[in-house]
């Protein structure tokens, strides 16, 4: 079972391009990843990392190229049929820099509501799954609180649980620790590491260089809307080839 799933790439991107008006944010992006892989995308701010991630689950529509993700083919210029769109959102879970929990719902409702609405689970089934996931991220006691009563790190772990509750095949993380104190960020990274070890396919846009080097299998280094460097984590981070990549890594690793 596992073998056949891994034979085919879970994500394959070719010739991806995206512009906001006259500004070209992504250009000629090609990459692929196997199921179970953890890929970190690093690079300076404004290099298009987040936009790339948002194109993968179509929060942004790409202007050029093809994205193949979880068996769904997204061709630039042709809006995918609704069914594909629903499948895509169900298959790809996303975690945001600003958590984006629903402030008017309890922690439990935040995780249960999408299960009921998207997967058609009953309230009891959804709550059971929610509580199990809260247990997994170490927040079982927070079920009946509102998000505002939780710290940033707790909110982000809840957001991870909410995404996992829909049984995604891949998780997309958009700078999940950038809004957190370095110390608080660690509890989020620990959850992500556990997830990676459990075999989840993950793409992580991050400024956490240690995470990129030690947890991810591969690193993609982007600058100015292009992929500069790509390969096994240690290789990219310790022996970058491109001058721009060396400059960036020197700046972030030697601080």
């Amino acid at each position: 079972m596992e073998q056949t799933a891994e034979a085919r790439p879970i994500v394959e991107v070719s010739g991806l391009g995206k512009s906001f008006g006259a500004h070209r944010v992504l250009e000629g992006i090609d990459f692929s990843m196997r199921a179970g892989e953890v890929v970190a995308i690093i690079g300076p701010s404004g290099s298009g990392k987040s936009t790339l991630l948002r194109c993968l689950n179509q929060l942004e529509q790409h202007d050029e190229g093809v994205i193949d993700i979880c068996g769904i083919r997204l061709q630039a210029g042709t809006p995918p049929p609704r069914k594909d769109m629903n499948d895509l959102r169900r298959s790809a879970g996303m975690v945001f820099q600003s958590f984006n929990l629903f402030p008017h719902m309890t922690v439990l409702r935040n995780i249960s509501l999408p299960q009921e609405r998207v997967l058609g689970r009953s309230r009891a089934q959804a709550d059971e799954r929610s509580r199990a996931l809260l247990e997994r991220v170490g927040l079982a006691a927070k079920a009946d609180q509102y998000p505002a009563r939780c710290s940033g790190g707790q909110q982000q772990r809840i957001a991870i649980a909410r995404a996992l509750a829909l049984d995604p095949r891949i998780m997309l993380f958009d700078e999940p620790t950038s809004a957190l104190d370095p110390e608080i960020g660690l509890e989020v990274l620990a959850v992500m590491q556990e997830l990676a070890e459990a075999g989840m396919s993950m793409i992580v846009v991050t400024h956490e260089m240690h995470f990129a080097e030690t947890v991810s299998d591969r690193v993609i280094l982007m600058a100015d809307g292009r992929i500069l460097e790509e390969g096994p984590s240690a290789e990219v981070m310790r022996r970058p080839k491109a001058a721009r990549a060396r400059q960036f890594l020197q700046a972030v690793l030697n601080r």
Partner: protein, 215 residues
């Protein structure tokens, strides 16, 4: 002013409340599509909403009431004074509520849409589960302020013969000319008595909703 006089005027409370609440309900409902048109990507719908809001808000309520009651009501469509007052005040309320909703929409963090889309919620679920409850919290104080203003505006329904508080006070004052001061002071006190509980309920509801999401 006699006790009978006071009872007579108090008898107008029901029409005052009915006209106010019906106009508010109509406006709160009609405000939703007008707001939706305003924030629509379609230029035509957006333009239409802007024009509609300007017209509805610029013409004084009393002119709208006369327009509906004497204008349309005397022509090809017969309309009673109560429906005329409700519709006239209702459409003005709609324009104002549309603007209140629009302001509230801006206060919702854009990440809420991102999360709804990324989770795959349907447009309907996004509207009813995510948007409306948050909008309700934000609009509650300004909507209540508007409702209390509308309560007072409902007095102009007296001009077309709706037998609400102001109409009955005016009627009584014309009979007992010397008591006009007491009569209108009593009418004023009734408006205060109605608006106090409205304000209190809104304040308690607002405080409760806030307490839940406060740090």
């Amino acid at each position: 002013m006699t006790a009978e006089g006071a009872l007579l005027i108090a008898g107008g409370i029901s029409w005052t409340v009915i006209v106010t609440l019906c106009a508010f309900g109509l406006g709160a409902a009609l405000g939703v599509p007008i707001c939706a048109m305003h924030v629509s990507r379609s230029r035509v719908l957006h333009g239409l909403a802007v024009v509609l809001i300007v017209i509805l808000r610029s013409v004084p309520p009393i002119v709208w009431i006369f327009l509906l009651y004497f204008g349309i009501g005397s022509g090809w469509l017969s309309i009673g004074p109560v429906p005329a007052a409700i519709v006239a005040l209702g459409v003005i309320t709609a324009a104002n509520m549309a603007e209140i909703y629009r302001g509230a929409l801006k206060s919702i963090h854009p990440g809420q849409w991102d999360a709804s889309h990324a989770l795959g919620l349907s447009a309907w679920s996004e509207f009813k589960d995510v948007m409306v409850p948050q909008l309700f919290r934000v609009t509650l104080p300004s909507a209540t302020t508007y409702l209390i203003g509308l309560l007072k505006d409902s007095a102009i329904a007296s001009t077309i013969g709706v037998m609400e508080i102001t109409y009955l006070a005016g009627y009584l004052a014309s009979k007992q000319f010397g008591a006009a001061l007491q009569i209108f002071a009593f009418a004023g006190a009734l408006y205060i008595l109605i608006s106090l509980p409205l304000a209190a309920v809104a304040r308690v509801a607002d405080a409760r909703l806030r307490a839940k999401v406060a740090q």
